[in-house]
Symmetry: C2
Subunit: 331 residues, 2 copies
């Protein structure tokens, strides 16, 4: 990850690795450090699942996103990691950092309602928290739930497994450009794209539906589809050959109207909360049926290969999908 | 709480209450919102205990405190809440917000080592986390553990119960003044006082030792002794008559040398992590013996009364201990 090195500061993933080397590892842990969630063995064949992820105003809340939407999104982005491991969240804890200017009844009420909405949509409850004064809006969420088994780790993909996603990509990347004033879109197109950024959904139903023996590796796509596929590849020791570009029609429309590369929107946007899974070929039909039964969609986009590269072979063109994703400290 | 109102912004406790009114309550919850920890019923007569609390550089890390000390303290202040409920922490999650200037190997390593030290001192492990770019240093910690029973809630003190603390007060308040350049102290005295701010200890052994039927109400003293006693009083519907001033000798020395009111140092300092408990009189001797058996100290400082006031009757003087504590947004 050459992009992670700069003379100015470390990249986010490098910081996480650096932290990990200084920590005493817990023995017998079910999920390796750095996977989507943490998991702790409990009595009675139960596993506690935990996840913490922080939303920061400066980098995660574009202009045009309300406090309600920001607070809801802070919960949803954590639920997405639970979804990727097939875990139902039960309880939400929240630590809030508020700039003095936001310590008003209106702002606090909007944040609280966004947190509650995000939790209740997925069946969870906000059960506790902490509030502090800070220079920037900070919403740090922790989720807790229990499972009998983790759906799948990031490692586990085998050569020949089908790479699949739970939805089409590119809307959020286009919507973010619109909020940042880059590119144009009107009417329904604009509102669909901006909504994708401001009101994301986590694929919890899909993650829960796939519990069983269908999935060999799983991650969510919050850091960008390219990053997620590379992470599955690296953790599993495989590569991937992609034979389709999973682009949403609205994202394609935006790309055409604004002269933007559709591959860029699909692979390098981030802030999209689909699941990226590898499915055992013998279980494909059953897995797809299970997802459709809960109102979702399982889209095959390629296969795991021996070659340690991510290649997109689509519309008569072969492209290497590079490891590039949006990272904090690299903005 | 008249101090909580200002035309500028809301106070921390008021914000927490305002948030609570917007949340859908979880049914059958064991610990009310706003108590030291959250607790969720699990299968097999187990209870999951969760706590999140955030350290913010601007308000919680005085000049002179190292990154190691700040990170360790972020863990310890959460462990203190677990101690107040008799819960052993098992796993620590951390969400870090780093200003660009701190995204260096040295700074990150120091933070990671502080987190690990804080966790390992109390038997827990850091199992996961998240890193973000932020304007200020943010260390948001979540603890997880399981118990069979919560030691005690904040409510539960009965008239006649003995009010007790697990240590003497005032060192941290004096140490903070020294770090802020207010007041003078030299040599060993200075180092003891500054250490009390920079390297606090949580009373986990004490909280675990008292599990059983000894304690009727419990809280930690992180927001100041006065605030903690008022909170026990308000939640339990009692008052307290205090017959002693639990001041550490070094704090008294600082008070005398600097012409500071010792009562101010003891009751209104905050950032001290003692337990403040009410003990059933019939169980007092046994409770005190249990604490001494783990190397601790249980100091009686007064009794719960019918009168809904906190009165200090000490050295021939009666003083009302007002509700005043350091609050975010009120600095």
């Amino acid at each position: 990850m050459a992009e992670n090195m700069s003379n100015k500061s470390l990249g986010e993933h490098e910081i996480i690795r650096l932290i990990q080397t200084r920590l005493t590892p817990m023995q017998g842990i079910l999920v390796p450090f750095g996977d989507d969630v943490s998991a702790i063995n409990l009595k009675g064949a139960q596993v506690a699942v935990l996840k913490t992820d922080m939303l920061v105003g400066k980098t995660d809340v574009p202009k045009g996103m309300s406090l309600f939407a920001a607070a809801r999104k802070a919960v949803v982005m954590n639920v997405s990691d639970f979804a990727a491991k097939g875990a139902l969240p039960v309880a939400v804890l929240v630590a809030i950092g508020l700039p003095m200017a936001l310590a008003t009844k209106e702002a606090v009420a909007e944040i609280a309602e966004g947190l509650n909405a995000g939790a209740r949509e997925y069946g969870a409850y906000v059960v506790g928290g902490d509030t502090n004064e800070a220079s920037d809006l900070i919403i740090s969420i922790t989720l807790f739930g229990t499972v009998q088994n983790i759906l799948a780790l990031r490692r586990g993909a085998m050569v020949g497994d089908i790479l699949a996603v739970t939805g089409l990509f590119g809307r959020a990347a286009a919507g973010l450009r619109l909020l940042l004033g880059e590119g144009r879109a009107l009417g329904r197109l604009r509102s669909v794209l901006v909504d994708a950024v401001c009101s994301p959904m986590a694929r919890l139903r899909e993650g829960l539906a796939l519990r069983g023996d269908y999935v060999s590796a799983s991650i969510d796509s919050s850091d960008g589809l390219a990053w997620s596929i590379h992470e599955l590849a690296q953790q599993s020791g495989v590569g991937f050959l992609l034979d389709t570009l999973p682009i949403a029609s609205e994202a394609m429309e935006f790309a055409v109207q604004n002269g933007v590369d559709p591959v860029e929107l699909v692979f390098y946007g981030g802030e999209e909360y689909e699941l990226v899974l590898t499915v055992k070929p013998a279980k494909w039909a059953e897995a797809q049926a299970l997802i459709q039964a809960v109102g979702g969609c399982l889209i095959p986009i390629g296969k795991a290969t021996c070659e340690k590269q991510i290649i997109l072979d689509f519309a008569g063109q072969k492209r290497i999908i590079e490891l590039r994703g949006w990272e904090h400290f690299k903005g």
